[in-house]
């Protein structure tokens, strides 16, 4: 989350009247930024991760683990910590910016009042010592956070609190779920960060939608689960708010766990990685090339098999968040004919990317095969002001959305030199990649954020996946890899990635040949060699469209093991002609063989790559599989899909230990591998 402006937020009925104005001002700000920064060149690679924590509170007497709602106090304690402040770290709003010697990590509020977000105090570079400092830095962040909590509180890196929204006590202190903002029958408003932006977000999403959000995740049917499963925690007889009718009108689906509030989604923790590219061209290339990796990495990091106290038949959180902020009206969702709404919109604001945006000759028109909804007037305005079509289309697509929270004060202030209106739309489009223009006035360049991964229970895993993505970007740029597949296939993969054990049981669409085509002659190669500002490694124009094979021949269904480790059967893979699919990990190893790496770094990187490699091959389990097995083998489990207080308590205790110690006895062997494995 960015800086949190204070002010007077508009209720939805007032905000919607200002939507056009915010969009107009937002586009004005975007054009200002674009004009100022489109010529940026040679920005270095800087990158950083964002790690989100749940803050737990243990009731040792009753053996219950709950969510602590002391976010504000903990952040204040962190900010007030003198040492931290002197070192230049702390909470961004409050820190004084005088000294930046050994920048300590920074902590940020999040939607859930039981969450913290941490980022490194300064971005990482590609220097090997920086890569090796990622895991220690994550450990340090966890430690510092812990030091500012009460003895019976602890931060854990876990995507979705297993008993969020259950009937029992799941927050400390307890609050009944009767709040007016969410109007949820499961989550109290007191679990939302009280900063006025957040309750307003929840309320305005609900108001815009015309009902509460409705999230239905399939139940995992175990031996003794009632069949068909009808979520027993739903109160059909509540008459507190008009939205209580939702469940009486069929909002909850049979066979599913039903959730009715933004908190179920925005209360999830993610692992996000942001890169600075050398220029806008490279940023757009990375955005497109990483896009097909989103679902693959979601399946590989799957860590969310439990929602609202039930084992679910999915392993990943993504769709829960997607549903939790789905502010589309019935007209937009296609349930009613269009009357007041402007568009039919097929996806939530939080969903997979719908359009590639690079200005890249490799981007065949067939890849952008979704019926993209755009605001034509905005596209025209951007193009009239010199923006090229793919980028203008991208922003015209983001800007079909309304701003959800508008602060009155921002409407009265001059828009120049700022990005607040632009960000109002941009940063409430939560797609699995984010293309981030530079903040005005600073010297930060064009950035790309990779957003699909689930947070892992240990810092070793989080470091492994973060470093994997960073190295992969270097491989993509160095070898000029082409990962394009039709974007509808990325959507399909995103759905597949949720399946229970998708990493081993499902196949994913992936491009068969990632390498640039051979230049047909030297002349062509020469011309491309003089590309000036073009990305090194960006391959040549692949000849005339007529010479290209049908798009359908370019991709195939593959297992994640094949995608990561390469095909097992190497029968006709003779290296003679260089054809054939090469896995992403062998590609990274080839890259590491090419650049100068010291032995210690290479050995450490091998440890991280091993985690990714073995997760893909099934030698190691995903967090989701491991947690599901933990629950199912717990003595308190009745084989009825219910994750009881006691199971949750034991699980959280173990996860806390893993967060601090990494491997715990032999319990974590199938997740992390044996010590020194």
């Amino acid at each position: 989350m960015g800086l949190l402006a204070l002010g007077t937020p508009l209720e939805w009925k007032d905000a919607k009247l200002q939507a056009d104005r915010v969009r107009t001002l937002g586009i004005q700000q975007l054009l200002e930024i674009w004009n100022a920064y489109k010529g940026n060149e040679k920005d270095v690679l800087l990158w950083g991760d964002e790690i989100e924590y749940l803050v737990l509170h243990y009731d040792e007497e009753n053996k219950n683990a709950t969510l602590s709602l002391r976010q504000a106090e903990i952040l204040a304690a962190l900010a007030n910590d003198r040492e931290l402040r002197e070192a230049g770290g702390g909470v961004p709003d409050i820190q004084d910016t005088k000294k930046q010697k050994e920048p300590l990590p920074t902590y940020h509020p999040e939607f859930g009042r039981f969450m913290l977000e941490s980022t490194p105090g300064a971005p990482f570079s590609l220097a090997w010592k920086d890569l090796l400092s990622v895991e220690p830095n994550m450990k340090l962040r966890r430690e510092i956070a812990k030091q500012h909590m009460k003895p019976n509180e602890t931060p854990v890196t876990f995507p979705s609190f297993p008993r969020l929204g259950t009937k029992g006590v799941f927050t400390t202190p307890y609050h009944p779920p009767t709040g007016n903002k969410s109007r949820s029958q499961f989550i109290p408003d007191e679990a939302i960060n009280p900063h006025i932006r957040f309750p307003t977000l929840a309320a305005n999403i609900r108001a815009r939608r015309g009902s509460k959000v409705a999230i239905n995740m399939p139940i995992y049917y175990d031996e003794k689960t009632t069949k068909p499963f009808r979520d027993p925690t739903i109160d059909y007889e509540r008459y507190l708010y008009p939205e209580d009718d939702d469940v009486r009108n069929g909002a909850a689906k049979e066979g599913h766990i039903y959730m009715d509030a933004m908190g179920f989604g925005m209360g999830c923790c993610c692992l996000q990685i942001t890169f600075q590219a050398k220029n806008i061209v490279e940023a757009r290339t990375l955005y497109d090339q990483l896009c097909p990796l989103g679902p693959i990495m979601l399946a590989l990091t799957a860590n969310s098999p439990i929602f609202k106290g039930f084992l679910a038949d999915v392993d990943a959180r993504w769709n829960v968040i997607s549903g939790a902020v789905d502010d589309r009206t019935e007209e937009e969702r296609g349930l009613k004919p269009l009357k007041d709404s402007r568009f039919r919109i097929p996806k939530s604001r939080y969903d997979s990317v719908s359009t590639y945006l690079a200005n890249d000759p490799r981007l065949r028109p067939e890849y952008n095969d979704l019926d993209l909804v755009i605001d034509e007037k905005i596209k025209k305005r951007l193009m009239d002001n010199g923006m090229d079509e793919p980028l203008a289309t991208h922003f015209a697509h983001l800007f079909i959305r309304d701003p959800i929270v508008i602060f009155q004060e921002t409407l009265d202030a001059p828009p120049e030199g700022k990005s607040d209106h632009f960000e109002n739309i941009q940063s409430t489009n939560w797609q699995h990649m984010r293309f981030k223009p530079p903040p005005p006035g600073g010297n930060i360049g064009w950035r790309v954020e990779f957003r699909s991964m689930e947070i892992q229970m240990t810092d070793e895993e989080n470091a492994a996946f973060a470093i994997f993505i960073v190295l992969l970007t270097r491989v993509i740029l160095s070898y000029g890899l082409n990962l394009y597949i039709p974007i509808s296939k990325v959507d399909e993969n995103m759905a597949t990635a949720h399946h229970r054990d998708a990493v081993l049981s499902n196949k994913f669409w992936f491009r068969k040949n990632l390498f640039p085509p051979r230049p047909s002659s030297r002349k062509q190669h020469q011309q491309n060699g003089n590309g000036g500002s073009s990305t090194p490694g960006t391959p040549s124009r692949p000849g005339s469209p007529a010479s290209l094979p049908p798009v359908e021949d370019e991709y195939a269904l593959m297992t994640i093991d094949e995608i990561m480790n390469g095909p097992k059967d190497l029968g006709d893979q003779d290296s003679d002609d260089g054809e054939g699919f090469v896995g992403l990990i062998p590609l990274i190893e080839s890259y590491l063989d090419t650049v100068n790496v010291d032995v210690e770094t290479r050995c450490e990187l091998a440890r991280y790559l091993t985690i990714v490699r073995k997760r893909a091959s099934g030698e190691l389990q995903t967090g989701a599989t491991w947690i599901r097995e933990f629950v199912r083998s717990h003595s308190d489990y009745k084989k009825d899909s219910v994750v009881t207080e006691r199971i949750n308590y034991d699980l959280m205790k173990l996860i806390e230990r893993m967060g601090v110690e990494g491997r715990v006895d032999s319990i974590t062997d199938r997740l992390l591998g044996k010590r020194n494995d």
């Binding site: 690679l45 590609l126 990632l514 051979r518 190669h525 650049v595 100068n596 032995v599």
Partner: protein, 299 residues
């Protein structure tokens, strides 16, 4: 008369469809990489003033050389300013050549790479000698007292070190003239390093160890290297980087000028191989990687 012949791959990062990529299940073979990329480059000949092979007076080598392939256009070089890059060159001396020729080969190889990248200098030059392979169990023979050696009074170098010193001296003089910033050697264990160092005026900054040994580098070597300011880097090159018969086969298969399909008794004897990489320092992007090799064709 033997005919000297210069082989070139061009930039294998972008032109060879992953020729440089390690494929699981295969041993990583830099020789395969070299041959695959060379084949690509020969196939890229488009006939307009270019040809698979042509004899030219090579100003770098100082004699007539057969170029395979031959392009009439100059090398592409680097795309950005020189300071943006780390240029690393690894020079492989081969078991097929006599040590006495190695100093001349060293000069020629470095000149050829400088020309290929259109750069006046190399950041790191690593020299690899035949027959020297790393031994993870290699320990210093005794807890040797640190010898303070004056080359004038020092004991004579071992035969192995004596054989490679002339080449190393070439690198030292190129270091002094600023052509090479840092020197490196490959596959040296502690005792070999101890034998070499007293006879150097410019100490190696780098010792390259095969990646399969990177997690089992013996402690004494780590300690010794740190003390001497030598960085231990990894590589994944095979012991035999080029094989003359493979090159002959490739020439015949690709119909290189002067090579028919039938055996005619012509032989290829490799003289040296240079592998070069140019990496954009601040972004870790490999922009250029390739091989240049000199072979001799015996009629």
């Amino acid at each position: 008369m033997p005919q000297k012949c210069l082989l070139k791959t061009s930039n294998i990062m972008t032109t060879s469809s992953g020729a440089g990529v390690h494929r699981p299940g295969h041993a990583t073979r830099s020789n395969t990489e070299l041959l695959t990329a060379l084949r690509e480059n020969i196939r890229g000949v488009d006939g307009e003033g270019s040809t698979t092979a042509k004899v030219v007076l090579d100003e770098v080598v100082g004699e007539e050389v057969l170029r395979v392939p031959f392009y009439d256009s100059p090398p592409v070089g680097l795309q950005e300013e020189r300071e943006e890059y780390d240029v690393t060159v690894k020079l492989f001396h081969l078991p097929t050549t006599a040590p006495v020729h190695q100093p001349a080969y060293t000069s020629a190889a470095i000149s050829a790479v400088l020309r290929e990248l259109s750069t006046p200098r190399i950041d790191l030059l690593i020299i690899a000698f035949p027959g020297i392979t790393f031994d993870a169990d290699d320990l210093p023979p005794t807890p040797a007292p640190e010898p303070i050696v004056d080359p004038a009074t020092a004991p004579a170098p071992t035969a192995e070190i004596a054989a490679l010193l002339p080449s190393y001296n070439v690198l030292e003089s190129l270091h002094q003239t600023g052509v090479i910033s840092r020197l490196g050697i490959s596959e040296f264990g502690t005792s070999r390093l101890e034998s070499l160092l007293p006879f150097t005026t410019v100490k190696p900054s780098v010792d390259q160890i095969n990646v399969r040994d990177c997690c089992v580098v013996p402690k004494p070597l780590i300690v010794y290297a740190k003390e001497k300011g030598i960085e231990l880097l990894t590589h994944n090159d095979c012991a035999e980087v080029i094989d003359g018969r493979e090159v002959e086969k490739l020439f015949r298969e690709e119909g290189v000028e002067g090579w028919g399909e039938a055996e005619d008794g012509k032989k290829v004897v490799p003289l040296w191989v240079a592998k070069y990489t140019a990496v954009v320092r601040s972004r870790g992007v490999v922009e250029n990687k390739g091989y240049i090799a000199m072979v001799e064709i015996l009629p």
